[in-house]
Amino acid sequence: MKYTALHDVHEKMGAKMTEFAGYHMPLWYTKIREEHMAVRQAVGIFDVSHMGDLIIEGPDATDFLSFALPTDVSKKKIMQASYSAFVNHRGVMIDDTIVTRLEENRYLVVPNAATADIIYHWLYSLSAGYKVEVKNVSNKFSSIAVQGPKAEEVLQSMVDVDISKDKVPFFHATMGNMDEIKIEHNELSGDLLYISRTGYTGEDGFELIFPNSNAIAIWNKLLEEGKDYGLKPCGLASRDSLRLEKGLLLSGQDFDPHHEPRTPVETGVSWIISWDHEFLGKEIMENMKKEKKYELFRGIILKGRGIPRHGDKIYVGKEQVGYLTSGTLSPVLNVGIGLGYIKRPYIKVGTEVEVEVRGKRIKAEVRKPRLV
């Protein structure tokens, strides 16, 4: 079992812990819905130190990543972040990621916890022939996500750099000093706190990255500064229900190179593809897009009682037209919602379907993945 630098803090706070991707992580502190709504209406903080941190640098870093990703990172500005995906030679998604251009030829790649080592080895083997170094610094850094409409206010009171939307728009990053906490010198951001306006909740918010030695001080400072804003520490359970309401993919569940092999075209994120450059798996994705036969990642909203779950089948009459890869009760809508793959022509928004939940068919409607 692996432990984050905040592990003991979570236990002391009375969090219910669980194993996730080999880490002993908080599942919740109090009530899932309370944590969920804190993020939708105020602000919540998550220990996301289990996520990976890779630094890609060298004279060919931009060319290399532009080939490895469907995203053309050469078009990105310094300190601009992109949601993207690592795909194999067949266009199948191995993982999704946020990649940030730190310098002309230096990038931060944040893969998921379970795939951090896989992506490191994948990039290492792909990099043959490129003048580039791939460094896995995951174990040196901790990370806290500060998410919700009040995230900016709370964080701004702690850092000396202007983090307003004008200065740090969505999917951009910056670095700054903290008033009382001296950030340990590190290879990502020198003596500064790394601040990225990104997240996995569908709300405004930030992801902070810093050396492990600073983790407890920053966590406690956020709890203290956030008190008047209704800030709550949040666990993996609300992290999942929050991303599910917004139709955000869960690596290893909504797609997986072995159990659920899907291209970015099928997972509904073809907007990440820059078609006017060469990249791994391009031809397969192009053909898919042209033929338009592929199943598509969609959301569903139940019209009756019940909570759909991973694996539930979707029907129109007698025909199975798809299945769910994720499902929960939406704390915001207070109805069962799901995400999954549906075949044509049933992908049309508004299509009436039935979901088989625990052996019973329940009426549902097809939606875009973003349900809230």
Binding site: M17, L27, W28, A237, S241, G306, I307, R309, T328, R358
Partner: protein, 129 residues
Amino acid sequence: MYPEDLKYTKSHEWAKIEGNKAKIGITYYAQEQLNDIVYVELPEVGTTINKGEPFGVVESVKSSSDVYMPLSGKVVAVNDMVVDQPELLNEDPYQNWLIEIELENPDEANELMDAEEYTKFVEEEEKNH
């Protein structure tokens, strides 16, 4: 946390036996493990179900969990209030029973744990998590 007058199962149900009838619910530990309970499904009155078989489902935002018969019997009443307001199971898991059954074999009660045994059992469970 575990009332003396109830009998308990390893799958964290309780049974309150009164004559040839018993009310059945989930324990404090069960609701705590589930966290926010948001959905409850119960059998129809008149159904006969054997000891150890599932009779319904209790779901939280995160997960769903079958609930099992502590004793064999015929369902004579279901508590519609917890179907309408599942959160009642978090608030008071003992006041808010799930079903009432007519016992088919009252001797089965001897196989259930009493409060002291169940408390020990839960302590062991928690150690393993």
